[in-house]
Symmetry: C2
Subunit: 354 residues, 2 copies
């Protein structure tokens, strides 16, 4: 493997000194880029794109060709694991993900198998290997997975949900059955992330999109605990390198202390939490990633710059901050506005790292 | 006016002793009730129902005929004010509210008038007067309004939004214009709530459904500050009675201290905040209202009872708690499950008030 030329992202995650604050964007390879939309059209369906390592590699690298980003993130979907479990993932245009076979009955949940990442999910590992080769050490590659709770919501509801009525009915009626489902998913996620690390991922991130829909107690039990089990099971040291883990619960700002106790290296924050307050709360236990409101990118470059400055000032001096949006970049954003944000981060953060 | 027979709700809001914890439900007059669906069908459109004081009174009283609720809430829509401003509210089936004339241009915003509640919104005041008469002192009547920020999101976006892209672009590009819009709406809301109090509302609640989509700084400036101005302008003492104000920001759990500083009598909480922690944070400055996850009502009465017990235990002993859901009751809930919740609150809370 090529020597890493830009290690700002990994250094910041380990709270080591950096020259400027590293920056990447959730969904940086995505629909806001015309070149992505072209590749996507060539691929056929969205899952054809995820399932083709060459095309997944191509779109992973697209934003790096445009912008001086400090990390690449594997292009894939969070629902590859339940798909590999046989639930039959498909996408309806404008409707989001759906499963042909949602899990409802106890028998189905107890029968659920743990996919072998180098078999059923080999296309993801092939993509990781190919991207690492093509990156040639320019920046580190982030692997990722959805959290067990987040994956379970789609698996039980059969798709996106606003009120999570089916899985919450299960949670309140039959919590032991939900525990069983989450344990199987957590085991699968741990194997999946470890396989990504083996294949070359230099950091991993767990996306807990829906943990914030729970009460504090239910969050701790049904979302955080399975994530903590995954973190315990991860290969944190691979060959000669440390592999940092980032934990992101959308709307999880009230629970940062509990998230810190999982042993994650960094927490992702959405924009509803003040970064400076978060830093005071977590102390020097974890790095922080975030947290510009993605809607700022609808404004003009000059106003984007102002808001970037506010986020940087909120974190303050010293390492331990990875700049990011508080959630994925919206499909309607102009690429030049994303570029203005990235340039502003590198330029305006320099004084904080003297 | 008839003497109030059940004043538990008002006493709890003022943190005075009560025999049991009072309970009501956001959207208690709504689609989960078959009798509501019948009246709604008879009325014609949803706005025909809101606009007809007799029918609005009828549906307001329906849940009280079924359940021993401790308060009634005016049946109306949060978007009556922008409708009265001439934006042309209408509802598309399954699509939520829409405005024929969303506000986009500076000229339109500067030209916006403040509706006279006893003229353009007289149908609401007539409903309040009629409901008070029909209630005959059984329980207090709650008046309400949407928050200026929440109303402005619909007025600028033209309807419901997921990312608030238009109003957030305005917020970041031209914050002074948004301030102007919010000031006009805040003035209108204050007049509207004061008119409801004059007409007979015995408590008022401000619903800030979308404040939780903002950064902490933007929440304080664009959502909380206009609400604080309204609270300052409210008739808190009407004739011989005190009129308590409840402030509810969905997803506002991180900002309770700032909300308390508005001078509100009570804060509404959604289920993502632990009620006991919230009580420790706000001390004896405000009462708290909430916060059962509305999805609990999909479970069986026996499990509903367990979750009610947890919420009551979380608040602990003493007055200052009004039991409610953390958001509106879902349309798919069985009425008997709502009844099980209400019965459990009254029964299980008694030991906390000895």
């Amino acid at each position: 493997m090529a020597e890493l030329k830009n290690d700002r992202f990994l250094r910041a995650l380990m709270r080591q000194p950096v020259d400027v604050t590293p920056v990447w964007m959730m969904r940086q390879a995505g629909r806001y880029l015309p070149e992505y939309r072209q590749t996507r059209q060539r691929a056929g369906s969205f899952m054809d794109l995820c399932g083709n390592p060459e095309l997944a590699c191509e779109v992973t690298l697209q934003p790096l060709a445009r912008f001086p980003l400090d990390a690449a993130i594997l292009f894939s979907d969070i629902l590859t694991i339940p798909d590999a479990m046989g639930l039959g993932l498909y996408f309806e245009e404008g409707e989001g993900p759906r499963f042909k076979h949602p899990l409802r009955r106890e028998k189905e949940i107890l029968a659920l198998g743990v996919p072998d990442p180098e078999q059923e999910l080999k296309y993801v590992m092939d993509a990781v290997r190919l991207i690492r080769r093509e990156l040639d050490g320019r920046v580190p590659l982030i692997g990722f997975s959805g959290s067990p709770w987040t994956l379970a919501t789609y698996m039980v509801e059969g798709g996106s949900s606003k009120d999570f009525r089916t899985i919450k009915a299960m949670m309140y009626e039959n919590p032991r059955l939900l525990d069983k489902l989450l344990a199987t998913v957590a085991e699968s996620v741990a194997l999946y992330l470890n396989a990504q690390i083996q294949a070359g991922a230099q950091a991993v991130m767990i996306f807990d999109t829906w943990g914030g829909a729970l009460t504090p107690d239910d969050y701790c039990h049904f979302s955080l605990q399975p994530m903590a089990q995954i973190i315990d099971a991860l290969t944190r040291q691979h060959e000669d390198r440390k592999v940092p883990v980032i934990l992101f619960t959308k709307n999880g700002g009230q629970w940062l202390e509990a998230m810190t106790d999982t042993g994650a290296d960094a927490l992702g924050l959405d924009w509803t939490t003040n970064l400076g307050d978060a830093r005071r709360r977590v102390g020097d236990q974890v790095a922080l990633q975030g947290n510009l409101d993605p809607s700022v990118l609808y404004a003009s470059p000059e106003h984007i710059r102002e808001q970037v400055a506010k986020v940087l000032a909120s974190y303050g001096a010293g390492s331990g901050h990875v700049f990011n949006l508080g959630h994925g970049i919206h499909p309607g954003i102009k690429p030049e506005n994303a570029g203005a944000m990235i340039a502003a981060v590198h330029e305006l953060s320099r004084p904080y790292h003297r």
